[in-house]
Symmetry: C2
Subunit: 350 residues, 2 copies
């Protein structure tokens, strides 16, 4: 049973774990090499000092891990240890350099974060409903794993076990590759005349959204996972070369675009599991307060569940286009209802 936890690293993740645990009655001591970060994290979590914690959590950049492990195992020789970094095999290799440590060290990776870091952005519910990956080595002690699973469950996350190598290959593909691609596409926009940029649509915005990420965080992640990333970038480069060489041949261009559509179809729906096919219901509204509320009241009255919503404001106009994502049944039901009471609903598209 978890009752005392020491968290080394008082950034967004460390402090959010601390907040979540304190809310559940667990004693938490926050530590940071930066005195002001530590002071803030302690203020937020109650500021207790913990002796003989069952669990010590490393929530700091992997590059600083080895040194901190050394001092922490000296202070807490009985504790279980875990880290929360974005890349795992490197952590496994570092842990192996400490004799006997790997039986009570759990490399983990919570799939949660925010656009901004720091203790001041921390949230007790940051991990609720998120996946939290564990990559235990075969010699991991069952009681250490139990403690970590208890922590993950307490914070409302869903534990998933993977090998460290599988983890790193998976995140390289689903997270690090898109980050690098978005950044490099966005880099091409430098120096573009602003009149051209005014023509940009949602496609460019979506494709480059994550290019706004922090390079200090990402240089660490990319560097730590460079072996996996390198393979993927070389594969992307081969496909890019093929596209360049195919520009004179529409049939070959079509093949590459079609292959992309097939790849995209592998991405599951927002709820996890099989990708859901939503119906989209576009509604033109006056761009003024009260319109959205009125629509959602109708949704509630009709027992219709809105899965997602897009708002498009027409530049220089007083109307806005709302597109609701709904199940096919709900879309049909809502479409005829809203039309019958005078809303400007457009034909359902799938």
């Amino acid at each position: 049973m978890l009752s005392k936890v020491r968290i080394v690293g008082s950034g967004l993740i460390g402090t959010s774990i601390g907040l979540g645990l304190v809310q559940r009655g667990i004693a938490v001591e926050m530590v940071d090499s930066e005195p002001s970060a530590q002071a803030l994290a302690r203020d937020l979590t109650g500021g207790v000092v913990v002796l003989d914690p069952e669990l010590v959590i490393f929530a700091l950049p992997t590059s600083g891990l080895a040194q901190v492990i050394q001092s922490e195992i000296a202070i807490n020789p009985q504790s279980t240890f875990m880290d929360v970094g974005s890349v795992k095999n490197e952590v496994v290799l570092q842990v192996k350099t400490f004799s006997g440590l790997s039986t009570r060290f759990l490399p983990t990776h919570p799939m949660a974060g925010r656009e901004i870091g720091g203790a001041s952005s921390a949230r007790a519910d940051l991990f609720q409903g998120r996946r939290w990956i564990l990559t235990p080595e075969p010699d991991c002690a069952p009681e250490s794993k139990e403690l970590v699973l208890e922590l993950i469950t307490l914070l409302g996350a869903a534990p998933i076990e993977l090998s460290a190598l599988d983890h790193d290959a998976a995140v390289a593909k689903i997270s690090h590759l898109p980050q690098i691609a978005a950044s490099l596409v966005a880099k091409q926009l430098s120096g573009t005349p602003s009149e051209w940029m005014e023509l940009a649509g949602q496609g460019l915005r979506d494709t480059t959204r994550i290019a706004g990420s922090d390079e200090k965080l990402w240089k660490e992640i990319i560097y730590s996972n460079r072996a996996e990333i390198s393979e993927l970038l070389i594969s992307l480069q081969n496909d890019l070369t093929q596209m360049i060489e195919s520009l004179d041949d529409p049939a070959k261009i079509a093949e590459l675009i079609a292959a992309g559509r097939e790849g995209k179809a592998k991405i599951p729906g927002k709820h996890g599991g099989k990708a859901r096919e939503y119906s989209y219901l576009p509604i033109v509204i006056d761009d003024k307060p009260g319109q959205l509320g009125a629509i959602f009241n109708e949704c509630a009255a009709m027992q219709v569940n809105v899965e997602d919503l897009n708002i498009e404001h027409s530049p220089g106009q007083l109307s806005a286009l709302i597109t609701l994502s709904l199940s096919a049944d709900d879309a049909e039901k809502l479409s005829s209802h809203l039309t019958s009471i005078g809303w400007n609903v457009h034909p359902i598209r799938k």
Copy 2:
């Protein structure tokens, strides 16, 4: 004054123009080489036959343009002509092969579309609030340009003049490059174990959203604009090579990610003009009908204007995270109001 228009091509764009014009009292004849498409478009637009149209609109793939121009100038020797294709210099070159035509031919490109094509998806308001680019040649007759500007304004779009070459360079950068990048990134997902795909987050979804596009449409567009696209892809390839060669050097990785962030900052906000800095207000709600309506009613009561909304459903949980995009003032106002009446609002983040 526009009173009679002939539209050659009864797909999404052609039929949407037809619908919009008919709604404004203009006689429209829809034509298509495919009898069923023509029949549907005529049903939708009133099915009249037009003699001596002031304007003939080509709304068909550029690859079929030359042949259609030939027959249309024979039938309508007095008309002004325009096309609506996504790439313009190629059209200019084709028009120049017809002696005297360029004075009364306007190459144009409406910045509007939908995920699905065909007359059945057409909407009279497809162009409302959209930009519509004209790329007139220097010898263009003023009365021809007037007619086209009248059409664009009638349909609620905002005309923008560019040279054909500038247009093609601009759309290569803001539209064709992101499409190709999204497709090639998505292509890398093929063969990925589905357990790995379950870990995918919003970053991958956004980066690859447009990879779902239709390859039949895009092979035409990419092929037509291959000169501009080739340059951009080579530049992207150089940056990709540099990233691959920098994987051992965190400082160089950071430089490339930072350059991407700078490029992204060139993208203007949704309303056009300078990018707006929104504040984001996260609210945890029960995932059941009525919650969104209640929130929007509070927004209306507080005179708060919601600029955008994101809904995140936690897998396997009964709560959802709503993030409202608001002006900083509205966010502060709404945050304290909602908190005071018991909503689960999280600290404002910018």
